[in-house]
Symmetry: C2
Subunit: 366 residues, 2 copies
């Protein structure tokens, strides 16, 4: 069940109950502006930010106001939340298969323009049935596997066959290609990312050419994320950039060797609950309030404090002699990976400087 609100507007950060997620609004707004400004130099390219990073209608509204063309979602619950919050164009950048999920997505399409991805004829049939029944139209993107070895067809010929199948259904509109290279986001060196996205773009271009030859033009070639978007943006192939993490940044992106124009805007606020042995303290933010699969969180503006171990409800901190830490102290942690960290929380505590400005719900679930 939904956990209690950790704060109310008007409080100071020191009054927020821990563990809690703190959003630095100034930094977040700067990040939204920075991406919009960067992409503005490429008039054929649109920003379609990914809601899976924040699961928040409030943040999506700010991204749309800054010029985003639509919001990406990764599951039906996110799409439902975005539509309920007034977002009028949504791409479910993922495959769905269940009849009930397709019906729910068709309901979303009654108030918002909805796109969705396929890589198999069985998904096409489920979507077509739901769209016909609800008397709506889905825009359909064929997902192609551009190098991450997850979803997506693996040849242009398969994409053409699948697009032809889509085009047979009156309530489905073939719209283009989903060509997301997730693993490229986290390659450490710029030249590795250049090579990965060049290969991805070449396959997307080849597939789009084959589709055009078959009389099925691609309006959309979508992909990219925070780690590689500059490459897709300059490829001359991609025209939708699905960056998500840029809005918050995280410790993993912080370790990349290029200087992205983004600032840390998301923190786990934790309390020190124990400091019983020299050189060590323990805080109340562990695996149930942060995700450590992309690396441990990093203590923010806390010299000499290193987060060294996450267990269920505890984070163990190593203290160098300069660190002065006692039970009751609060500290901010930069999450290792923002998306699954947000998913652990029910609330985002939106702060301006030291003051809580709003408390936003997180649209959890599937």
């Amino acid at each position: 069940m939904t956990g209690r609100r950790p704060a109310e507007p008007g409080m100071t950060i020191a009054q927020v109950e821990t563990p809690a997620l703190i959003v630095d609004l100034d930094a977040m707004e700067a990040n939204i502006k920075a991406l919009a400004a960067r992409v503005a130099a490429y008039p054929s390219v649109r920003v379609t930010p990914h809601a899976k990073a924040h699961k928040s209608v409030e943040i999506a509204r700010r991204q749309m106001a800054a010029g985003a063309a639509r919001m990406c979602c990764q599951n039906v619950a996110e799409a439902e939340a975005m539509a309920a919050g007034g977002i009028n164009s949504i791409l479910l950048s993922n495959e769905i298969i269940g009849v009930e999920k397709a019906k729910r997505l068709a309901q979303v399409a009654r108030t918002a323009k909805v796109g969705v991805c396929v890589d198999h004829v069985d998904q096409v049939k489920v979507l077509a049935d739901a769209a016909r029944e609800a008397d709506i139209t889905f825009d359909v993107l064929i997902e192609i596997d551009v190098g991450m070895g997850r979803c997506g067809v693996t040849s242009a010929a398969e994409a053409v066959a699948l697009a032809k199948d889509v085009a047979k259904h009156k309530n489905l509109h073939f719209s283009g290609l989903q060509a997301y290279h997730g693993t490229a986001q986290h390659l450490r060196h710029p030249e590795e990312r250049v090579a990965a996205i060049a290969k991805a773009a070449a396959f997307a271009r080849e597939t789009a050419d084959a589709l055009r030859t078959a009389g099925l033009p691609c309006d959309v070639i979508a992909g990219a994320g925070t780690g590689s978007y500059e490459n897709e943006m300059m490829s001359g192939v991609y025209n939708e950039l699905q960056c998500g993490s840029y809005v918050f940044k995280d410790a993993d992106y912080g370790r990349n060797d290029t200087a992205y124009p983004f600032r840390n805007a998301l923190f786990i606020l934790a309390s020190v609950i124990s400091a019983a042995a020299p050189g060590r303290a323990v805080c109340d933010a562990g695996l149930k309030s942060l995700s450590a699969e992309s690396g441990l969180p990093v203590a923010y503006e806390a010299p000499g404090v290193t987060y060294i171990k996450a267990t269920d409800e505890h984070g163990t901190l190593q203290l160098s002699p300069q660190a002065t830490v006692k039970p009751g102290d609060k500290l901010k942690l930069i999450p290792g990976h923002c998306d699954p960290t947000v998913n652990l929380h029910d609330w985002l505590v939106a702060c301006r400087g030291d003051k809580v400005e709003a408390v936003w719900p997180v649209a959890r679930g599937w």
Copy 2:
């Protein structure tokens, strides 16, 4: 916000929306009985199961009915949920420091007997103030660090000093020692666990002796978990066993080399959403519905299917030639670690055989 219920009573498992957590009630009930039966041979030892594994009042009630002396909780929200569900004795087997959290715990103590741990005088003061203000009494355990290097004082002398401080407060009752060795749970070889718990028990005994000498007898010496409880049980020192995971088991405990008497009772039900390349499929259960920090989940009764990679909303499955998997198929996954996996969900779908018997809320939050 709370995600939608993935099922209703009377459905078959095939009808449950994915990803969802499935509890095999027959296996869970057998696990609860098995631990109770094993510990019954040691009349001085009590089972005090850990609610952090399941966060469910329904399961706690079944554990109490099977003879548990009290329920352990790891945070105040769990304690609140247990008390609201009628559990009348609770040990918060953790330190808390915030004034608000202490006040909330004091409210819990109006309907349930409440114990709580300390390892620092600052915690004692916060608890004493809250207890006095609410006119209740907390039982207080001193946590000692018996080898895991997390919370807990590190010498008998510190424990005696802290217990004397506790005893000064009219609304605090010094009750004993929390001597939990978390890392011992996951040592792979029985002789490693024997050695770790022998050392832990020796320090607990030494500390209890020092306390008795100082006129502060320890009623409770508490600790243990699913991986090592036989050792604590037979130590002659411990008298409360805080096993949590036994109720569900998980893939990590499944890899231990001793044959615990417990069965897998918790599964992530997932749908195959993509199978676009030979030898590979993708399901809808990734890092937002399972925790992979203790290892990846294991496909259950699915020959030739291996879960090889977890990303946010996707699980990549490697298929051997014998595996027949197509989009829409559902499969059960044994979680790598049950506690943080439960924490990702709002609902437990309790099943008897193939039928959904109940849908239970998960008490998330802090």
